[in-house]
Amino acid sequence: MRGIVKRFPTVVALDNVDFRVRQGEIHALLGENGAGKTTLMRILYGMYKPDTGEIIVEGRRVSIGSPRDALKMGIGMVHQHFMLVDKLTVLENIALFVEDSLRTGFDRIRSGVEEISKTYGLKIDLDAKIWQLSAGEQQKVEIVKTLYRNVKLLILDEPTSVLTPAESEELFKSLRRMVETGKSIILITHRLNEALTASDSITVLRKGRVVAAEVKPREASRLDLVNMIVGRPLEFRPRVGNFKKGGKPVLEAENLRVLDDRGLIAVKDVSFVLKEGEILGVAGVAGNGQRELVEALTGLRRVEKGIVKIMGVDVTNTPPKNIIRLGVAHIPEDRFRYGVAPDLSVAENMVMKLYGEKFSRKLFMDIEAIQRETEKLVQEFEIVAPGVNAPVSLLSGGNVQKLIVARELSINPKILVASNPTSGLDVASTNYVHWVFHRLREAGGSVLLVSEDLDEVLALSNRILVMKEGRIVREFGEGASISEVGLAMTAGAA
């Protein structure tokens, strides 16, 4: 890709970007939120048209008008949010993606897919329904789906954000096999370790410009990469802070049983205590009851059995409002499901928790105070928005996440329940959020940190609980190693 420029109504997303991938390599593409990684890849995949610039595939200048064109040229993309039909089987989903699938017939597709699975070590049950699969398995379906279209260049957008360490390792093995057969892979990621260990070449984007092209991983250190991505050194090194063991319990769960959306038991007999001034990590593969547990603790989901106590008060099955009033903030796992009202403005979303207390006088909203507070938080958290009165639906995913984090911390919580708080955030923002968590702990606040990012959990938590199949299977103290915890997540009860 040469000299790519893409302007959006308010910003220049890509400013004269040159980007080159060689055949048979895994090429990592790094950069902050809004650096232009996704935009660049969407141009390559035909979802956007560049304003100027050219794309050259195997020496030929091409014009890619749609994903359909891209696929014809052998370029495929696996998005962060999977594009699969829940109620259909794996095979049916793959067939949907095949042009002319009716004429090809299911049997031929099946044998083709089986062959691909074997070649690249991507085992999946073709007759399982998508909703029965874990995120990792769904990702395999997405990859196989594009491979079946015979792509030569595969773009993966943050593929490991939904995977366990073991699954990630497996994924990279499969990717390695693909490049050995001559395919090329572009890996968009926020995780520096992946770029350093799994890729052959690294390109870094910052604010729509290339700041480093085709860096060899062995010639760069982690710190070099951070400097390239952020443009300045990071202020905070995540650490496990001083935690006084005698802190009094602020959040207690006793023998909780919670059902999932299908009415099956998702949380089984879970008990734990979160103490004052503590960050308690909850690690686990997605879909092992963490979401249901968090929703039960914050009043969003019914508790079937057991007791939830906050500050010693029994809050089992009380409305969320009462729990908020006790000083509980919540960064939800699915930011678009719970986190924001998309039609409302940034300012209106910013006060969603305190509108009734701090930002209203009797019946009326205090619009001036709301504007002032929002402007302050937008600056502090470096939220990129067209304005405080612009609807949240215009913000990018990373900035929506920043908005939610900013809002939840602005209520000065005693307890913060955070699910994947930094998912989709870039290095600098992640670092800032970690620092704020740390500061909250130093001030005597407590954090329940539920995260699929083991690095994050390990770096911040005073204690770590491992959840598997709805139960807490292990507890670790400070200084646990990533392999120990990773093993407990997948291997089962110890």
Partner: protein, 358 residues
């Protein structure tokens, strides 16, 4: 040259209004084809419609007479739609309100001095109650409110038929399906020489203003907007979704009920079969046309009422079928709904290296 859609960075009030006016203008040639098919010159027809609805004092006052019920329903509906509660039942709520007022006027035996207040209260209460039932079913059992409110329209229509042909049939009405006329103390006064009943006019103006302020400036309006934008987020923020659903339906049904009171207490002076020529359904159009804003809905109601009055006029003067007016309204609505996308996106033309957008 390339043409594409691109999200507007901001959506201003000016864009919203101009897009809607543009949609109305664009719809005119299409309806013109219909007029032409009847051998009528479309331009002549439009002029007559406009003159009929807004051009004379009589036409203007009749437009306001229709604006009263349509506006009351529409303003209430914006409230419900804003909270994403799809109330299709304003028609039934209006009918129930008119029946409640009739009972107060003819059978309650209340003293003359309080009868009008009692009629309004009864109309509001019964209209609201008729709307609360589907709201409760939705918030409690998650039963689709579109179907329930729609079905309840038919129930209220049949109830009306029953009372005016049965127990409440007027003794002095030679068997017509209508009640006896209301006594003079149970009738709303009108502005001299017209049929504009000013109690209702005052209530319409007041409720429009109150709902406007409520929606834009208060905690209640804020909660309703959060519920409408994302009910799950409302729950998460500690806002009760079911309480807000009940509230918007209460207000929406109550205002429709008041619209019904105005019809029996002034326009007809009694309860008759077919008390509403579909005002409750018609009101859905201005509620959306006005951008779910009470003030906008009021203006749009006035506009739609004018079209209806003007449509009546051309029925007579050009001898066109009355259903053509409904087609007219339908086409305009279709254009306005389709134009919604232009309020949020702009069309970008790329010619050579230049970008032009509208």
């Amino acid at each position: 040259m390339e043409i594409g859609l691109e999200r507007r960075p901001t959506v201003s009030r000016r864009i919203n209004i101009s897009v809607r006016i543009l949609a109305i203008l664009l719809s005119l040639p299409f309806i013109g084809l219909l007029f032409a098919a009847y051998g009528v010159n479309p331009v002549d027809a439009y002029l007559r419609i406009f003159a009929g609805g807004f051009g004379s004092l009589y036409g203007f006052s009749e437009t306001i007479v229709k604006t009263l019920p349509i506006g009351l329903c529409a303003v209430g509906l914006t409230f419900a739609y804003k909270a994403r509660v799809s109330n299709i039942g304003a028609e039934g709520q209006l009918i129930m309100g008119s029946m409640a007022a009739t009972w107060v006027a003819l059978y309650s035996g209340l003293p003359q001095s309080v009868i009008i207040i009692a009629m309004l209260l009864a109309g509001f209460t019964v209209g609201a109650a008729w709307a609360l039932l589907p709201a409760a079913l939705k918030s409690g059992l998650n039963i689709n409110e579109v179907i329930v409110t729609l079905m309840m329209n038919y129930i209220s229509l049949k109830l009306l038929d029953y009372v005016v042909t049965g127990p409440w049939r007027g003794l002095t009405q030679w068997g017509f399906p209508q009640t006896d006329p209301f006594p003079s103390y149970a009738r709303f006064p009108t502005i001299g020489g017209t049929r504009i009943h000013y109690y209702t006019l005052a209530l319409l103006s007041a409720s429009t203003l109150i709902l406007y302020v409520l929606m834009k400036k208060t905690k209640i309006g804020y909660e309703i907007r959060v519920v409408g934008s994302n009910p799950e987020a409302a729950k998460y923020a500690g806002i009760s979704v079911s309480r807000n659903m009940l509230l918007v339906m209460l207000v929406s049904g109550g205002l429709a009920g008041i619209a019904g009171v105005g019809e029996v207490a002034c326009i007809h002076g009694r309860l008759i079969r077919g008390i509403s020529p579909g005002y409750g359904y018609t009101a859905i159009i201005p509620a959306w046309l006005g951008g779910l804003d009470p003030l906008g809905a009021l203006v749009a109601s006035f506009f739609i009422s004018g079209l209806m009055v003007g449509g009546d006029a051309i029925q007579v003067s050009l001898r066109l079928p009355s259903s053509l007016v409904y087609v007219f309204n339908g086409v305009i609505l279709l254009f306005i709904i389709s134009s919604e996308v232009l309020a949020r996106y702009r069309i970008v033309f790329k010619i050579g290296g230049r970008r032009i957008w509208i």
